[in-house]
Symmetry: C2
Subunit: 333 residues, 2 copies
Amino acid sequence: MATPRISAAFFCPRLSKPAATQHSTKRMKPSTIKLALIQQTAIQPDATNPTAMLDVQMSACREAAKAGCHLALLQELHNGPYFCQQEDPGLFDLAEPIPGPTSERLGQLAAELEMVIVASVFERRAAGLYHNTAVVLDADGRLAGTYRKMHIPDDPGFYEKFYFTPGDQDPARGLGLIPVDTAVGRLGVLVCWDQWFPEAARLMALAGAELLLYPTAIGWDPTDDAAEQQRQREAWITVQRGHAIANGLPLAACNRVGLESDPSRATAGIRFWGSSFICGPQGEILAQANVTEPETLIVELDLARAEQVRRIWPFLRDRRIDAYGDLLRRYRD
Amino acid sequence: MATPRISAAFFCPRLSKPAATQHSTKRMKPSTIKLALIQQTAIQPDATNPTAMLDVQMSACREAAKAGCHLALLQELHNGPYFCQQEDPGLFDLAEPIPGPTSERLGQLAAELEMVIVASVFERRAAGLYHNTAVVLDADGRLAGTYRKMHIPDDPGFYEKFYFTPGDQDPARGLGLIPVDTAVGRLGVLVCWDQWFPEAARLMALAGAELLLYPTAIGWDPTDDAAEQQRQREAWITVQRGHAIANGLPLAACNRVGLESDPSRATAGIRFWGSSFICGPQGEILAQANVTEPETLIVELDLARAEQVRRIWPFLRDRRIDAYGDLLRRYRD
C-alpha cells in the first residue's frame, strides 16, 4: 500500500464587507477548527488481523491529531472493502451493534486525542434490521450521536437496498435528519447517497448545522468511457458545492479511493475516485485530495464565516415556505 | 455598443450505457432543440425610441431563428436598464400589463419566427401591485403562460422587495411554481433569485419540467475584491448546475452584461457578469458566454438524455417524502 500523503491547506478568507459587530455566542467553542479527511484504499480482511483497516484509519487519526486537527472525518464503511457489490446474506455477519466494537475503539481514541471523530459503521439494530450508520465520537470520547443513512441507493454494483434499512425520521427520539452537537460545533452528518438530495442538506441547515459532513463511497464503473467518468465525478463535487452555497455552510466529503474488484465477477468492480474535498459557504473549494491514492487532507476552517456569507446572501430569509407543500409529494401528477 | 457575438456549441452526448428501448412519447415534439440565450448590455431609455432595448432583443431573436433555433431565452427585465438600484415610486411607470405591449410584440415575433420566446416583464397587475414576471410566448405566438418571480431579493443595489410582490402559489389557478407547456416541451421557467433555492427547481422537476430556464440580472459590486467576485460568480454557476444534477434536467440561465451605474450615486453601480450558460442533466457545461460583451449563445440540446441520466441516478425514486415535513418550516427551532 502506498504511504498516505498528508496535504494541508490553510484558509481563512474574509468577505470584503466585514460584519458590523462580532456578537458573542452562547457556547464556548472555537470559530476556527482544523479538519482532517482520511481518504483510504480498502484492505482485504485477514484472519490474523480482522481490524487491519480500522487500525489504518486510527493511525491516520493520530497523525491528524499531531498536526493539530480538532475533527476527523472517515470514509463510508471504512472498516473493510465496500461489500455491497453483491447480495450475500452471509455478509450481514460484518454488522455490529452501536455502541459496539468500532464505536468503542474510536471513542477511546477520540478521548485520547481530544478530537471529534465522525465514522461510519454497518449497524446491526436487530435480527434482519441493519443500517448504514454514521457515529459521532465527541472529543471526550462520548458517543455524541448517530445518523442512519436516510436515502439508500441501489444500482448495479451498489446493492445497498439489500443491506440497509433507511433511517427512521423521528426527531423527537433523536432519529433522522438532525445534526449532532459536539465540542467543535453542531455537525450535519449525512452519508453518501444523501449527498444528491438538496432536501437533506437543507433540513440540517434549518436545524442549525454549522458544517455538513459526508462519509462516502463512490467511484467509476471501469467500463464507462472517460467523458462519462469525468461528468460523474464533476457532478458529485458540484451538487455538494451547491448544497454549501444554498445553505451558506461549509461542507466536507470523505471518499474511498482505489479499485475494488467485484467478488461475484459480474462487473469490472468499482474504481473509487477519491477526490475528497472541503468547500466553504460559497461553495469555494478549499482543498481536494487526489483520485488514486490514500491521502489525509487537512484544512483550517473558519466556521464564523457562514454568518457573514448569509448576511450577503440571506436565502433563509426568503424561502417561500407557503409554496413548498408539494415537496412532500412523490410527483406532482 | 459592441456588435453582439454569436457563439454556437453542438452537443449531443450519449451515456455509455444506452437505454434499452426508446419508448414513444405521447406528444409530438422534438427531442433535440436548438436554444438561444440573448445576453445583452443595457441601453438607456431615449424619448425618440423608448423601445430601443426591446428592439435589440428582437433583432437578436431574428438572428437566432435564422441559425435554426427553436427557443430563445432573454435576460431578466430586458426592456431597459436594471432599475432596482434605487427606490423611486416614479419607476412604477415602467410597468405594463400582461398581455400588454411587450408580450404582444414578442408574441407576434414568436409566431413570425415559429420560435418559443421566454421573456421578462415588469408587470402591473393592479394599482400598487406589481410583479417581476416571465412570459412564455409559444411558437404560434400565443401567450402559453406566465411565471411571477416567487423569491424576491433585497440587498444594497437590488431593492426588489420595494418593486415586486412575490408571486402567488395557487396551482389550481395556474399560479406559482408550475411549468409551462410549449411546442418545444414543458419549460420550468424561474427568475433570477429563484436560482439560489433548490426547492424551486425541485418543484418544477416534480411537475414534469423538461428544461429549467432562468432570466437573470446578477453582477458584481465593483468595490468587492477580485477573489470575492470570483467566488460569487462561481457560486452562481455552481448552485444552478447543482439543480440540474439533483433533478436530472438541463438548465439555462441568461444574464445581463456590462456596468450599469447607480442613478442615486449611492454605490459604484453593478457590473453584470454575463456568463450566461447552458448545462446538461449531469450539470456539465455545454456552452458559456463571456463576462463583458453582448453575445447570443446557441446550443443544440437533447431533451431525451434526461431519461437516460435519471435511469443511472434515480434520485426521484429515493426521495424521503416522509421525512421532509420540516422543509415547510422557517427554521427548526
